[in-house]
Subunit: 207 residues, 2 copies
DNA sequence: TGTACATCAGTGAACGCGCGTTCACTGATGTAC
DNA sequence: TGTACATCAGTGAACGCGCGTTCACTGATGTAC
């Protein structure tokens, strides 16, 4: 194993400090509110000093986006494996919503700029990606019920629909319904459950 | 009827020109790309001249947002009334998606800043608002089937779910899945149909 | 262990940019008699 | 219809701001002998 020199340790520590401060600013003021000057001010640094660690502002933002994506993955992976497939799918959706609620700025950051690496259903899915986790959960429901899907409405399309549903809930809650008071948690749980139960319906492909 | 003076006519015409140019810029470069200087340049005007018609940049943006909302309403109102209630609901969702696809910048503008005027399910709904149109379509489906809803999962919650579904589809398509190739139109139609048919299921409230 | 040197981390000033808004102004348009 | 005056639409320069990035630099830290 390679030993870390003090210099390297210091380097990584500073880098982490920068990212943390940047994340705080984004949380407080949104992505538009992030400037290198303020970032430097916050950690008692000169703006030019940041260029020792990152080549541009974009690079900093990209690093934070990656952190956010990792955090989101963790929310989804935290869902227990020993639930019934349908209930697991529901919990998956709720975890997605919880992430969006707990870390709205990460959520916005991820979806405002990060474009999917795949460009069609045929391409290989990045294992461990949020979408992959979701797709597996949907697959488990289908397989548990020994359903055969209509050729048209494939597994991936169902996963996409489920994703759209929770994504829309998360987005609306953050934007248009920001000040709307309701027991969203209960509504979401009920809706997702109906969706998951609906998957068991043999007539899926007949619509 | 009050006669329009030439001065007034000219005034409204210029105002419209400004808004149109602003809308074009937003379409081309997004909201962040809109500046009063460029706007003025485009219509051969000085930036300060704009203040004859609007008190601030925000006022211009707000005017455009209102236009966008009106346009969206038109998309939804265009859905024929003589369809079966379920099919009408489906068409409503597709119209929403079509609007988002045709006018992505309007769509983003509306949902990035415009906050719902209501703050709970109990408050009165603004008639003619997109949400009101949607809610009526959902109501028609329920009534046509003579269903009684479980007390918990009310009409408005169903409308909210449907809205979330189409909203998520629209958002994902514009952001994360921007470069993803698929027959979205077909997938959307199928999914919305399943949703609408699902509403007829008596067990709705038992989930 | 001490010294000479190389590398490194961080600074401060400056560049060049575009922004929204204000304000004193002027020439054109409309109005009253 | 002509004239004197008021109103109006639009200009151009300036204010004050904050931005990302570059660059010559310096003092601190590490390295080789």
């Amino acid at each position: 194993m390679i030993k870390e020199t003090p210099r390297q340790r210091r380097y990584f520590k500073t880098k982490a400090t920068i990212l943390q401060a940047a994340q705080e600013i984004i949380t407080e003021k949104g992505l538009d509110g992030l400037s290198l000057r303020e970032l430097a001010r916050r950690i008692d640094y000169s703006p030019s000093g940041l260029y020792e660690y990152f080549n541009s502002k974009d690079e900093i933002v990209a690093a934070i986006r990656a952190e956010g994506l990792e955090l989101m993955r963790n929310y989804l992976k935290r869902v227990p494996a020993d639930l019934s497939p349908a209930e697991r799918l529901v919990q998956m959706g709720l975890a997605y919503l919880e992430f969006a609620q707990d870390h709205p700025e990460y959520f916005r950051l991820i979806f405002s700029h990060l474009t999917a690496s795949r460009s069609s259903f045929n391409q290989k899915i990045d294992e461990g990606s949020p979408y992959h986790l979701l797709l597996q959960a949907v697959r488990a429901v289908i397989e548990a019920e020994e359903l055969t899907l209509g050729e048209e409405y494939s597994l991936q399309e169902i996963a996409y629909s489920f994703w759209s549903l929770v994504h829309g809930m998360a987005m609306l809650r953050q934007t248009h319904l920001r000040h709307f008071q309701a027991d969203f948690e209960r509504i979401h749980r009920r809706t997702l459950r109906i969706f998951a139960e609906g998957l068991k319906n043999k007539q899926l492909s007949a619509a």
